[in-house]
Amino acid sequence: MFTIGIDVGGTYTDLVATDETGRTVFAKSPSTPADQSIGVMAGLEELARRIGVTRAAMLAATDRLVHGTTVATNALLERKGARVALLTTEGHRDVVEMREGLKPDRYDLRTPPPEPLVPRERRFGVRERLKADGSASIPLDATALDAAIADVRRSDATSVAVCFLHAYLNPVHELAAVERLANELPGVSVSRSSDVLPQIKEYERVSTTIVNAYVAPTVQRYLANLERSLIEAGFAGSLFVVLSHGGMAPVEEASRLAAGTVLSGPAGGISGSRRCADLLGIPDLVPFDMGGTSTDISLISDGVASLSADGMLAGQRIALRSLDIASIAAGGGSIASVDGGRTLRVGPESAGSVPGPACYGNGGLAATVTDANVVLGYLDARAFMGGARPLDRAASEAAVDRIAAALDLSRIEAAAGIYKMINLKMADGIRLTTLRRGVDPRKFALLSFGGAAGMHAAEVARELEIRRIIVPTVASVLSAWGMLTSDLRYEVSRTHYGTGRISADEVRGLFAALEKQAAGRLRGWFKGDIAIERSAEMRYGEQVFEIDVLLGDVDLNAPDLVADIEERFHRRHEELYTYASRGQEVVFVNARVAAVGKVARRAGDAAAVSSTAPCAPRGRRQAWFGAWREVPVYGLDDLRPGQSLDGPAIIEAETTTVLVDIGDRVTVNGLGWLDITLR
């Protein structure tokens, strides 16, 4: 039987299949943004060809297909989602447009406000009101509800978000409104806040519910199409979708919580990273995925990828827990410029893939990071994409010369400056990510993947005092490969209401109810063993930001349960922010439970054949290592486990280039991956 992972990216759809013997086959196929399922089906064809069977035969022998999709992401980024209307508490219909009174970029007073996903004319107030303790001070007014539904009908909305104040405590008004909507407007998609995010804080809840309403119809349509195409092509197994929190869920769940798929793509990269951590026995990794326009940074700490609810995408607040991925606008396409103070800047503007860097020869004139890499000799202009797409070195030089002239520098100094600035920016992104999680990056190893990462990893690592870099051979399809090992996951949470200290019975009651709900739901999809993960969000009395405290091994029946939980909070606060205030009141805000269904692992990757022979370079070329040096160039495919080499050197593969700095040492590990120790 096969397990297949499919990751749809902006340019390529990556596919990986594995079977019981541990045999692993990769395929790449162009993505088809208009309907991603076309590219997926074509990719499956290619994958079957590489395995040496027909697509139908392969699919018939596949029990699990795990899919990372960017359908929701793109709908949000390109503003191509549903026409959404909002039903909300009367007198509070502007919450989403008020954005809590905040505006990005403090000193920019000349950019007008962004358009909300739901404009005011489609936000309808309904007479009803719950109090802070969940009791109704104004019962849901049936006449007002019908009037609002009539307004929704007139607005031609195709999807409706329902969000009432304090519904996280008591969903009764929302449920009644949803029922009425289903009767009155049967064709319209409905998202309910007490279902999507049953948590206190109305801005986050309404914004997340609106995003869900906005992407749900598109996601549902896509997944239904894909499932139909797969079945027609002979697939009889289960289709799972990777969610933003890194777990996977069946199509029905991804359709319900469509806002939970916005990071489906990069989440696969983290699954892949976690698997790398596992295989390598390195529990602390910084996955560093540098592509053309952006770099995704996350953290694997103690083998666990951290989750956060601070998410924001395309200007929309999405407060669902998702893998903590910081996406920074820095990549190979980032454009260098010189401002009025003669200061060099790199990014955030990007040349993208069209026109792309100057060296692509598509009319791009701006100097990009890729152009600097060509000038510095890191990228071999002739061998780019295996020689299929040679680069125009002269164009890179001309572009970099313009920057050099503006700064009164030589060409090489300007190129080295661009290289330095982009590295700094990425190191900065890692530093802020680690600070937010209260960890010290120095004990981590950098996991380098994505097309451009290998050329920058060493400098970025050095900037952070990281001493070790791993470059897996699966770097170019890491996300799809990671999906093969995703677990099933279903998360629920509940806000605790109370003005005093929580009692042990309340804690037990909260978790018992959540565990029953989570495990019950997961049981519907999964027959194997279910593990429960518990955590709580807590804060000091007067703080507003909660921190997430894992309660994995807490004994819920212990007599000093609350003291134990509070002590864990104090310790976590100390880890994160250097101090704890043990005399202060601790507030228990949200209880969280994840039910996790561990899928059976296939055999590990087959080990490559080792060799003790010295590495033989394929050639030599000039590259800039503080001065021009003629350095050896190795083929990644030629390197065998057991071999090692010292920098300066360049290691090339079809889709990536790895720079080995002076004094750094590369060892090829048992999997054939590069393990680089920095000097």
């Binding site: 007198g91 009174g101 403090r106 000193y107 007073l109 103070g341 922010y577």
Partner: protein, 550 residues
């Protein structure tokens, strides 16, 4: 300084420094206790050198930032013997502070035994002692009635906290627990910055970093001058009016004469009215900060806001006027008023020099603080209103932001969740929506203020204070745009006539069940209303942002 600095090293050091202040801000946001800091973000971070030059700052509250150099100078003047591990604290407006609630902590950064920089955290305390809770005392006629004054003091000596001083401060503040928590957060953030800056020194070498700092300031100055030199030369006048001082004076004038020559700007505020007996006076540092803030809004948003950017700017003012009060005068309102009016007067003057950069007036601050007892747990509470943010001004770029804030905060103050407020305070927010018709008309419309109806759900009477301005004068329209609607707050109490709340009242009696009917101001419009497009007007009507056909 003999080290020659290349543009790349300069960029690298600049990037590092701004990343350090960002990190400090992240730490502060997540660790502070009081609602005013962790939710409303009323704090700022900076790095200054020993001559008081601002080297880097994080974009938080603009009116704090321009004041930090003056605070640093006061510290330098007071202490010649700063040692590693010292922490210095101050708030006194006559010794480097802006107003008493803004507490500022300084941590020195050394390279060996050479002291080079300060990492600085300024944060607004939710109480600072004095005659009224929450620091704002409209009745004050002397600074002694506004709270505890802290000249530059060493709170830590060589790494050892002065617990006696800490006790003295906490004893003078109404909520010592919160105060201590916030102070711990401030020091944590400043120390984080110190560690990171020290690492920068050790990595690049002190001489290189020092040379890079000079180059950063020079480059920023150059960048700013390039922008300013494109504006029209001349002498320009603008003025703005404060409603009143709460002690009988009305229409207090802030007058700006701006002389623009080449890439230099001189702002002369000497024509402003004499100082007041009440807290609407500005301290000197705050006046400087307000002028810097106006200038920062006119230059490009992406120019670093450091001392270099302010070099083309010269400020002239006279002590004894409303913008620069004599020692001992009350000043608590100054970070909002007259700061907002100083900014508005300067922007108005500049509308003739750089019309494609000026914007309509942003809202003014009209705050309410309520002190009472929560019947659910019999605890005392102090609530500060951050909801009902006023509208922002329209600009050449388009309509203004609604519900966004004042000139001095411009979308940097977050109002917390209403659900959380209802859980934590005995308050019921019946309505909190955009206030139709409040945005100033114009080719581009000012942003809308907010209509808030809030019911007090205490069992016993509570007390309210107000502090602010802008109930008579709305934010100004620019280049033909109309003014935004002024604030209009009323107290609705059963069995009594509705009462319009004044902007400077102390000890307002609030009875259980009373409703505060808050209507916050809209922003000023930009450009002539005749030029507003038919589509834009139709959309305003469809969205209910304007109620009447125009």
């Amino acid at each position: 300084m003999s080290v020659k600095i290349d543009p790349i090293t300069r960029s690298v050091v600049q990037h590092r420094l701004s990343s350090i202040v960002r990190e400090m801000g992240e730490a502060m946001l997540r660790t502070s206790y009081s609602q005013i800091l962790n939710s409303s973000r009323d704090f700022s971070l900076g790095i200054c050198d020993t001559s008081g030059r601002l080297i880097a700052q994080a974009d938080h509250i603009p009116v704090h930032v321009g004041a930090l150099p003056w605070a640093t100078l006061a510290v330098e003047q007071r202490f010649k013997d700063v040692a590693p591990g010292d922490v210095i604290l101050l708030n006194d407006p006559y010794q480097g502070g802006s107003h008493l609630p803004d507490l500022t902590a300084f941590v020195p950064v050394f390279d060996g035994d050479k002291r080079l920089l300060w990492t600085i955290v300024r944060a607004h305390q939710s109480d600072i002692g004095g005659a009224t809770h929450g620091a704002y005392n409209p009745a004050a006629t002397e600074i002694y009635q506004e709270g505890i004054r802290i000249p530059p003091i060493k709170l830590y000596e060589a790494g050892k906290p002065r617990e006696d001083l800490l006790d003295l401060l906490a004893l003078n503040i109404r909520n010592p627990r919160e105060f201590r928590g916030d102070l711990a957060a401030m020091l944590g953030a400043a120390h984080l910055g110190e560690r990171r800056v020290a690492k920068l020194f050790s990595e690049f070498g002190t001489e290189t970093v020092e040379a890079a700092i000079e180059a950063i300031l020079d480059a920023t100055e150059q960048q700013t001058r390039v922008v300013v030199s494109t504006w029209k030369d001349g002498v320009f006048h603008g003025e703005a009016l404060l409603d009143d001082d709460g002690h009988g004076r009305t229409d207090i004038r802030i007058s700006a004469k701006v002389t623009k020559t080449g890439s230099d700007i001189e702002v002369d505020l000497t024509g402003s009215d004499p100082q007041s007996t009440s807290f609407v006076n500005s301290s000197h540092a705050n006046m400087q900060a307000a002028v810097a803030m106006a200038f920062a809004y006119l230059i490009d948003a992406d120019i670093p806001k450091n001392t270099g950017a302010l070099r083309p700017l010269k400020v002239v003012a006279k002590q004894g006027t409303i913008v620069w009060a004599d020692p001992g005068r009350p000043v608590t309102l100054c970070t909002s008023h007259p700061s907002n009016e100083i900014v508005e007067a300067i922007i108005k003057a500049m509308s003739a020099s750089c019309p494609d950069r000026v914007m309509g007036g942003w809202g003014r601050r009209f705050r309410i603080a309520i002190q009472g007892e929560d019947p659910r747990n019999s605890r005392n509470f102090i609530w500060h209103m951050f909801q009902a943010r006023p509208g922002g001004g329209a600009s050449p770029g388009g309509d203004g932001y609604s519900s966004i804030g004042e000139w001095h905060s411009v979308g940097g103050l977050k109002f917390g969740s209403i659900e959380v407020a209802e859980v934590r305070f005995p308050l019921h927010f019946r309505q909190h929506e955009f206030r139709p018709d409040s945005g100033g008309d114009g080719q581009h419309r000012g942003g809308l203020g907010v209509a808030l109806d809030m019911v007090l759900e205490t069992a016993k009477p509570a007390k309210g204070n107000t502090a602010g301005d802008g109930a008579r004068h709305g934010p100004c329209g620019m280049l033909g745009g109309r003014d935004g609607a002024p604030h209009h707050y009323r107290l609705l109490s059963e069995g009594r006539e509705p009462r319009v709340l004044k902007t400077k009242e102390v000890g307002i009696e609030l009875r259980p069940g009373d409703c505060l009917e808050i209507r916050s101001s809209g922003g000023g419009g930009w450009g002539p209303p005749e030029q507003r497009s038919v589509e834009a007007r139709a959309r305003d009507a469809a969205q209910g942002l304007v109620s009447k056909a125009v």
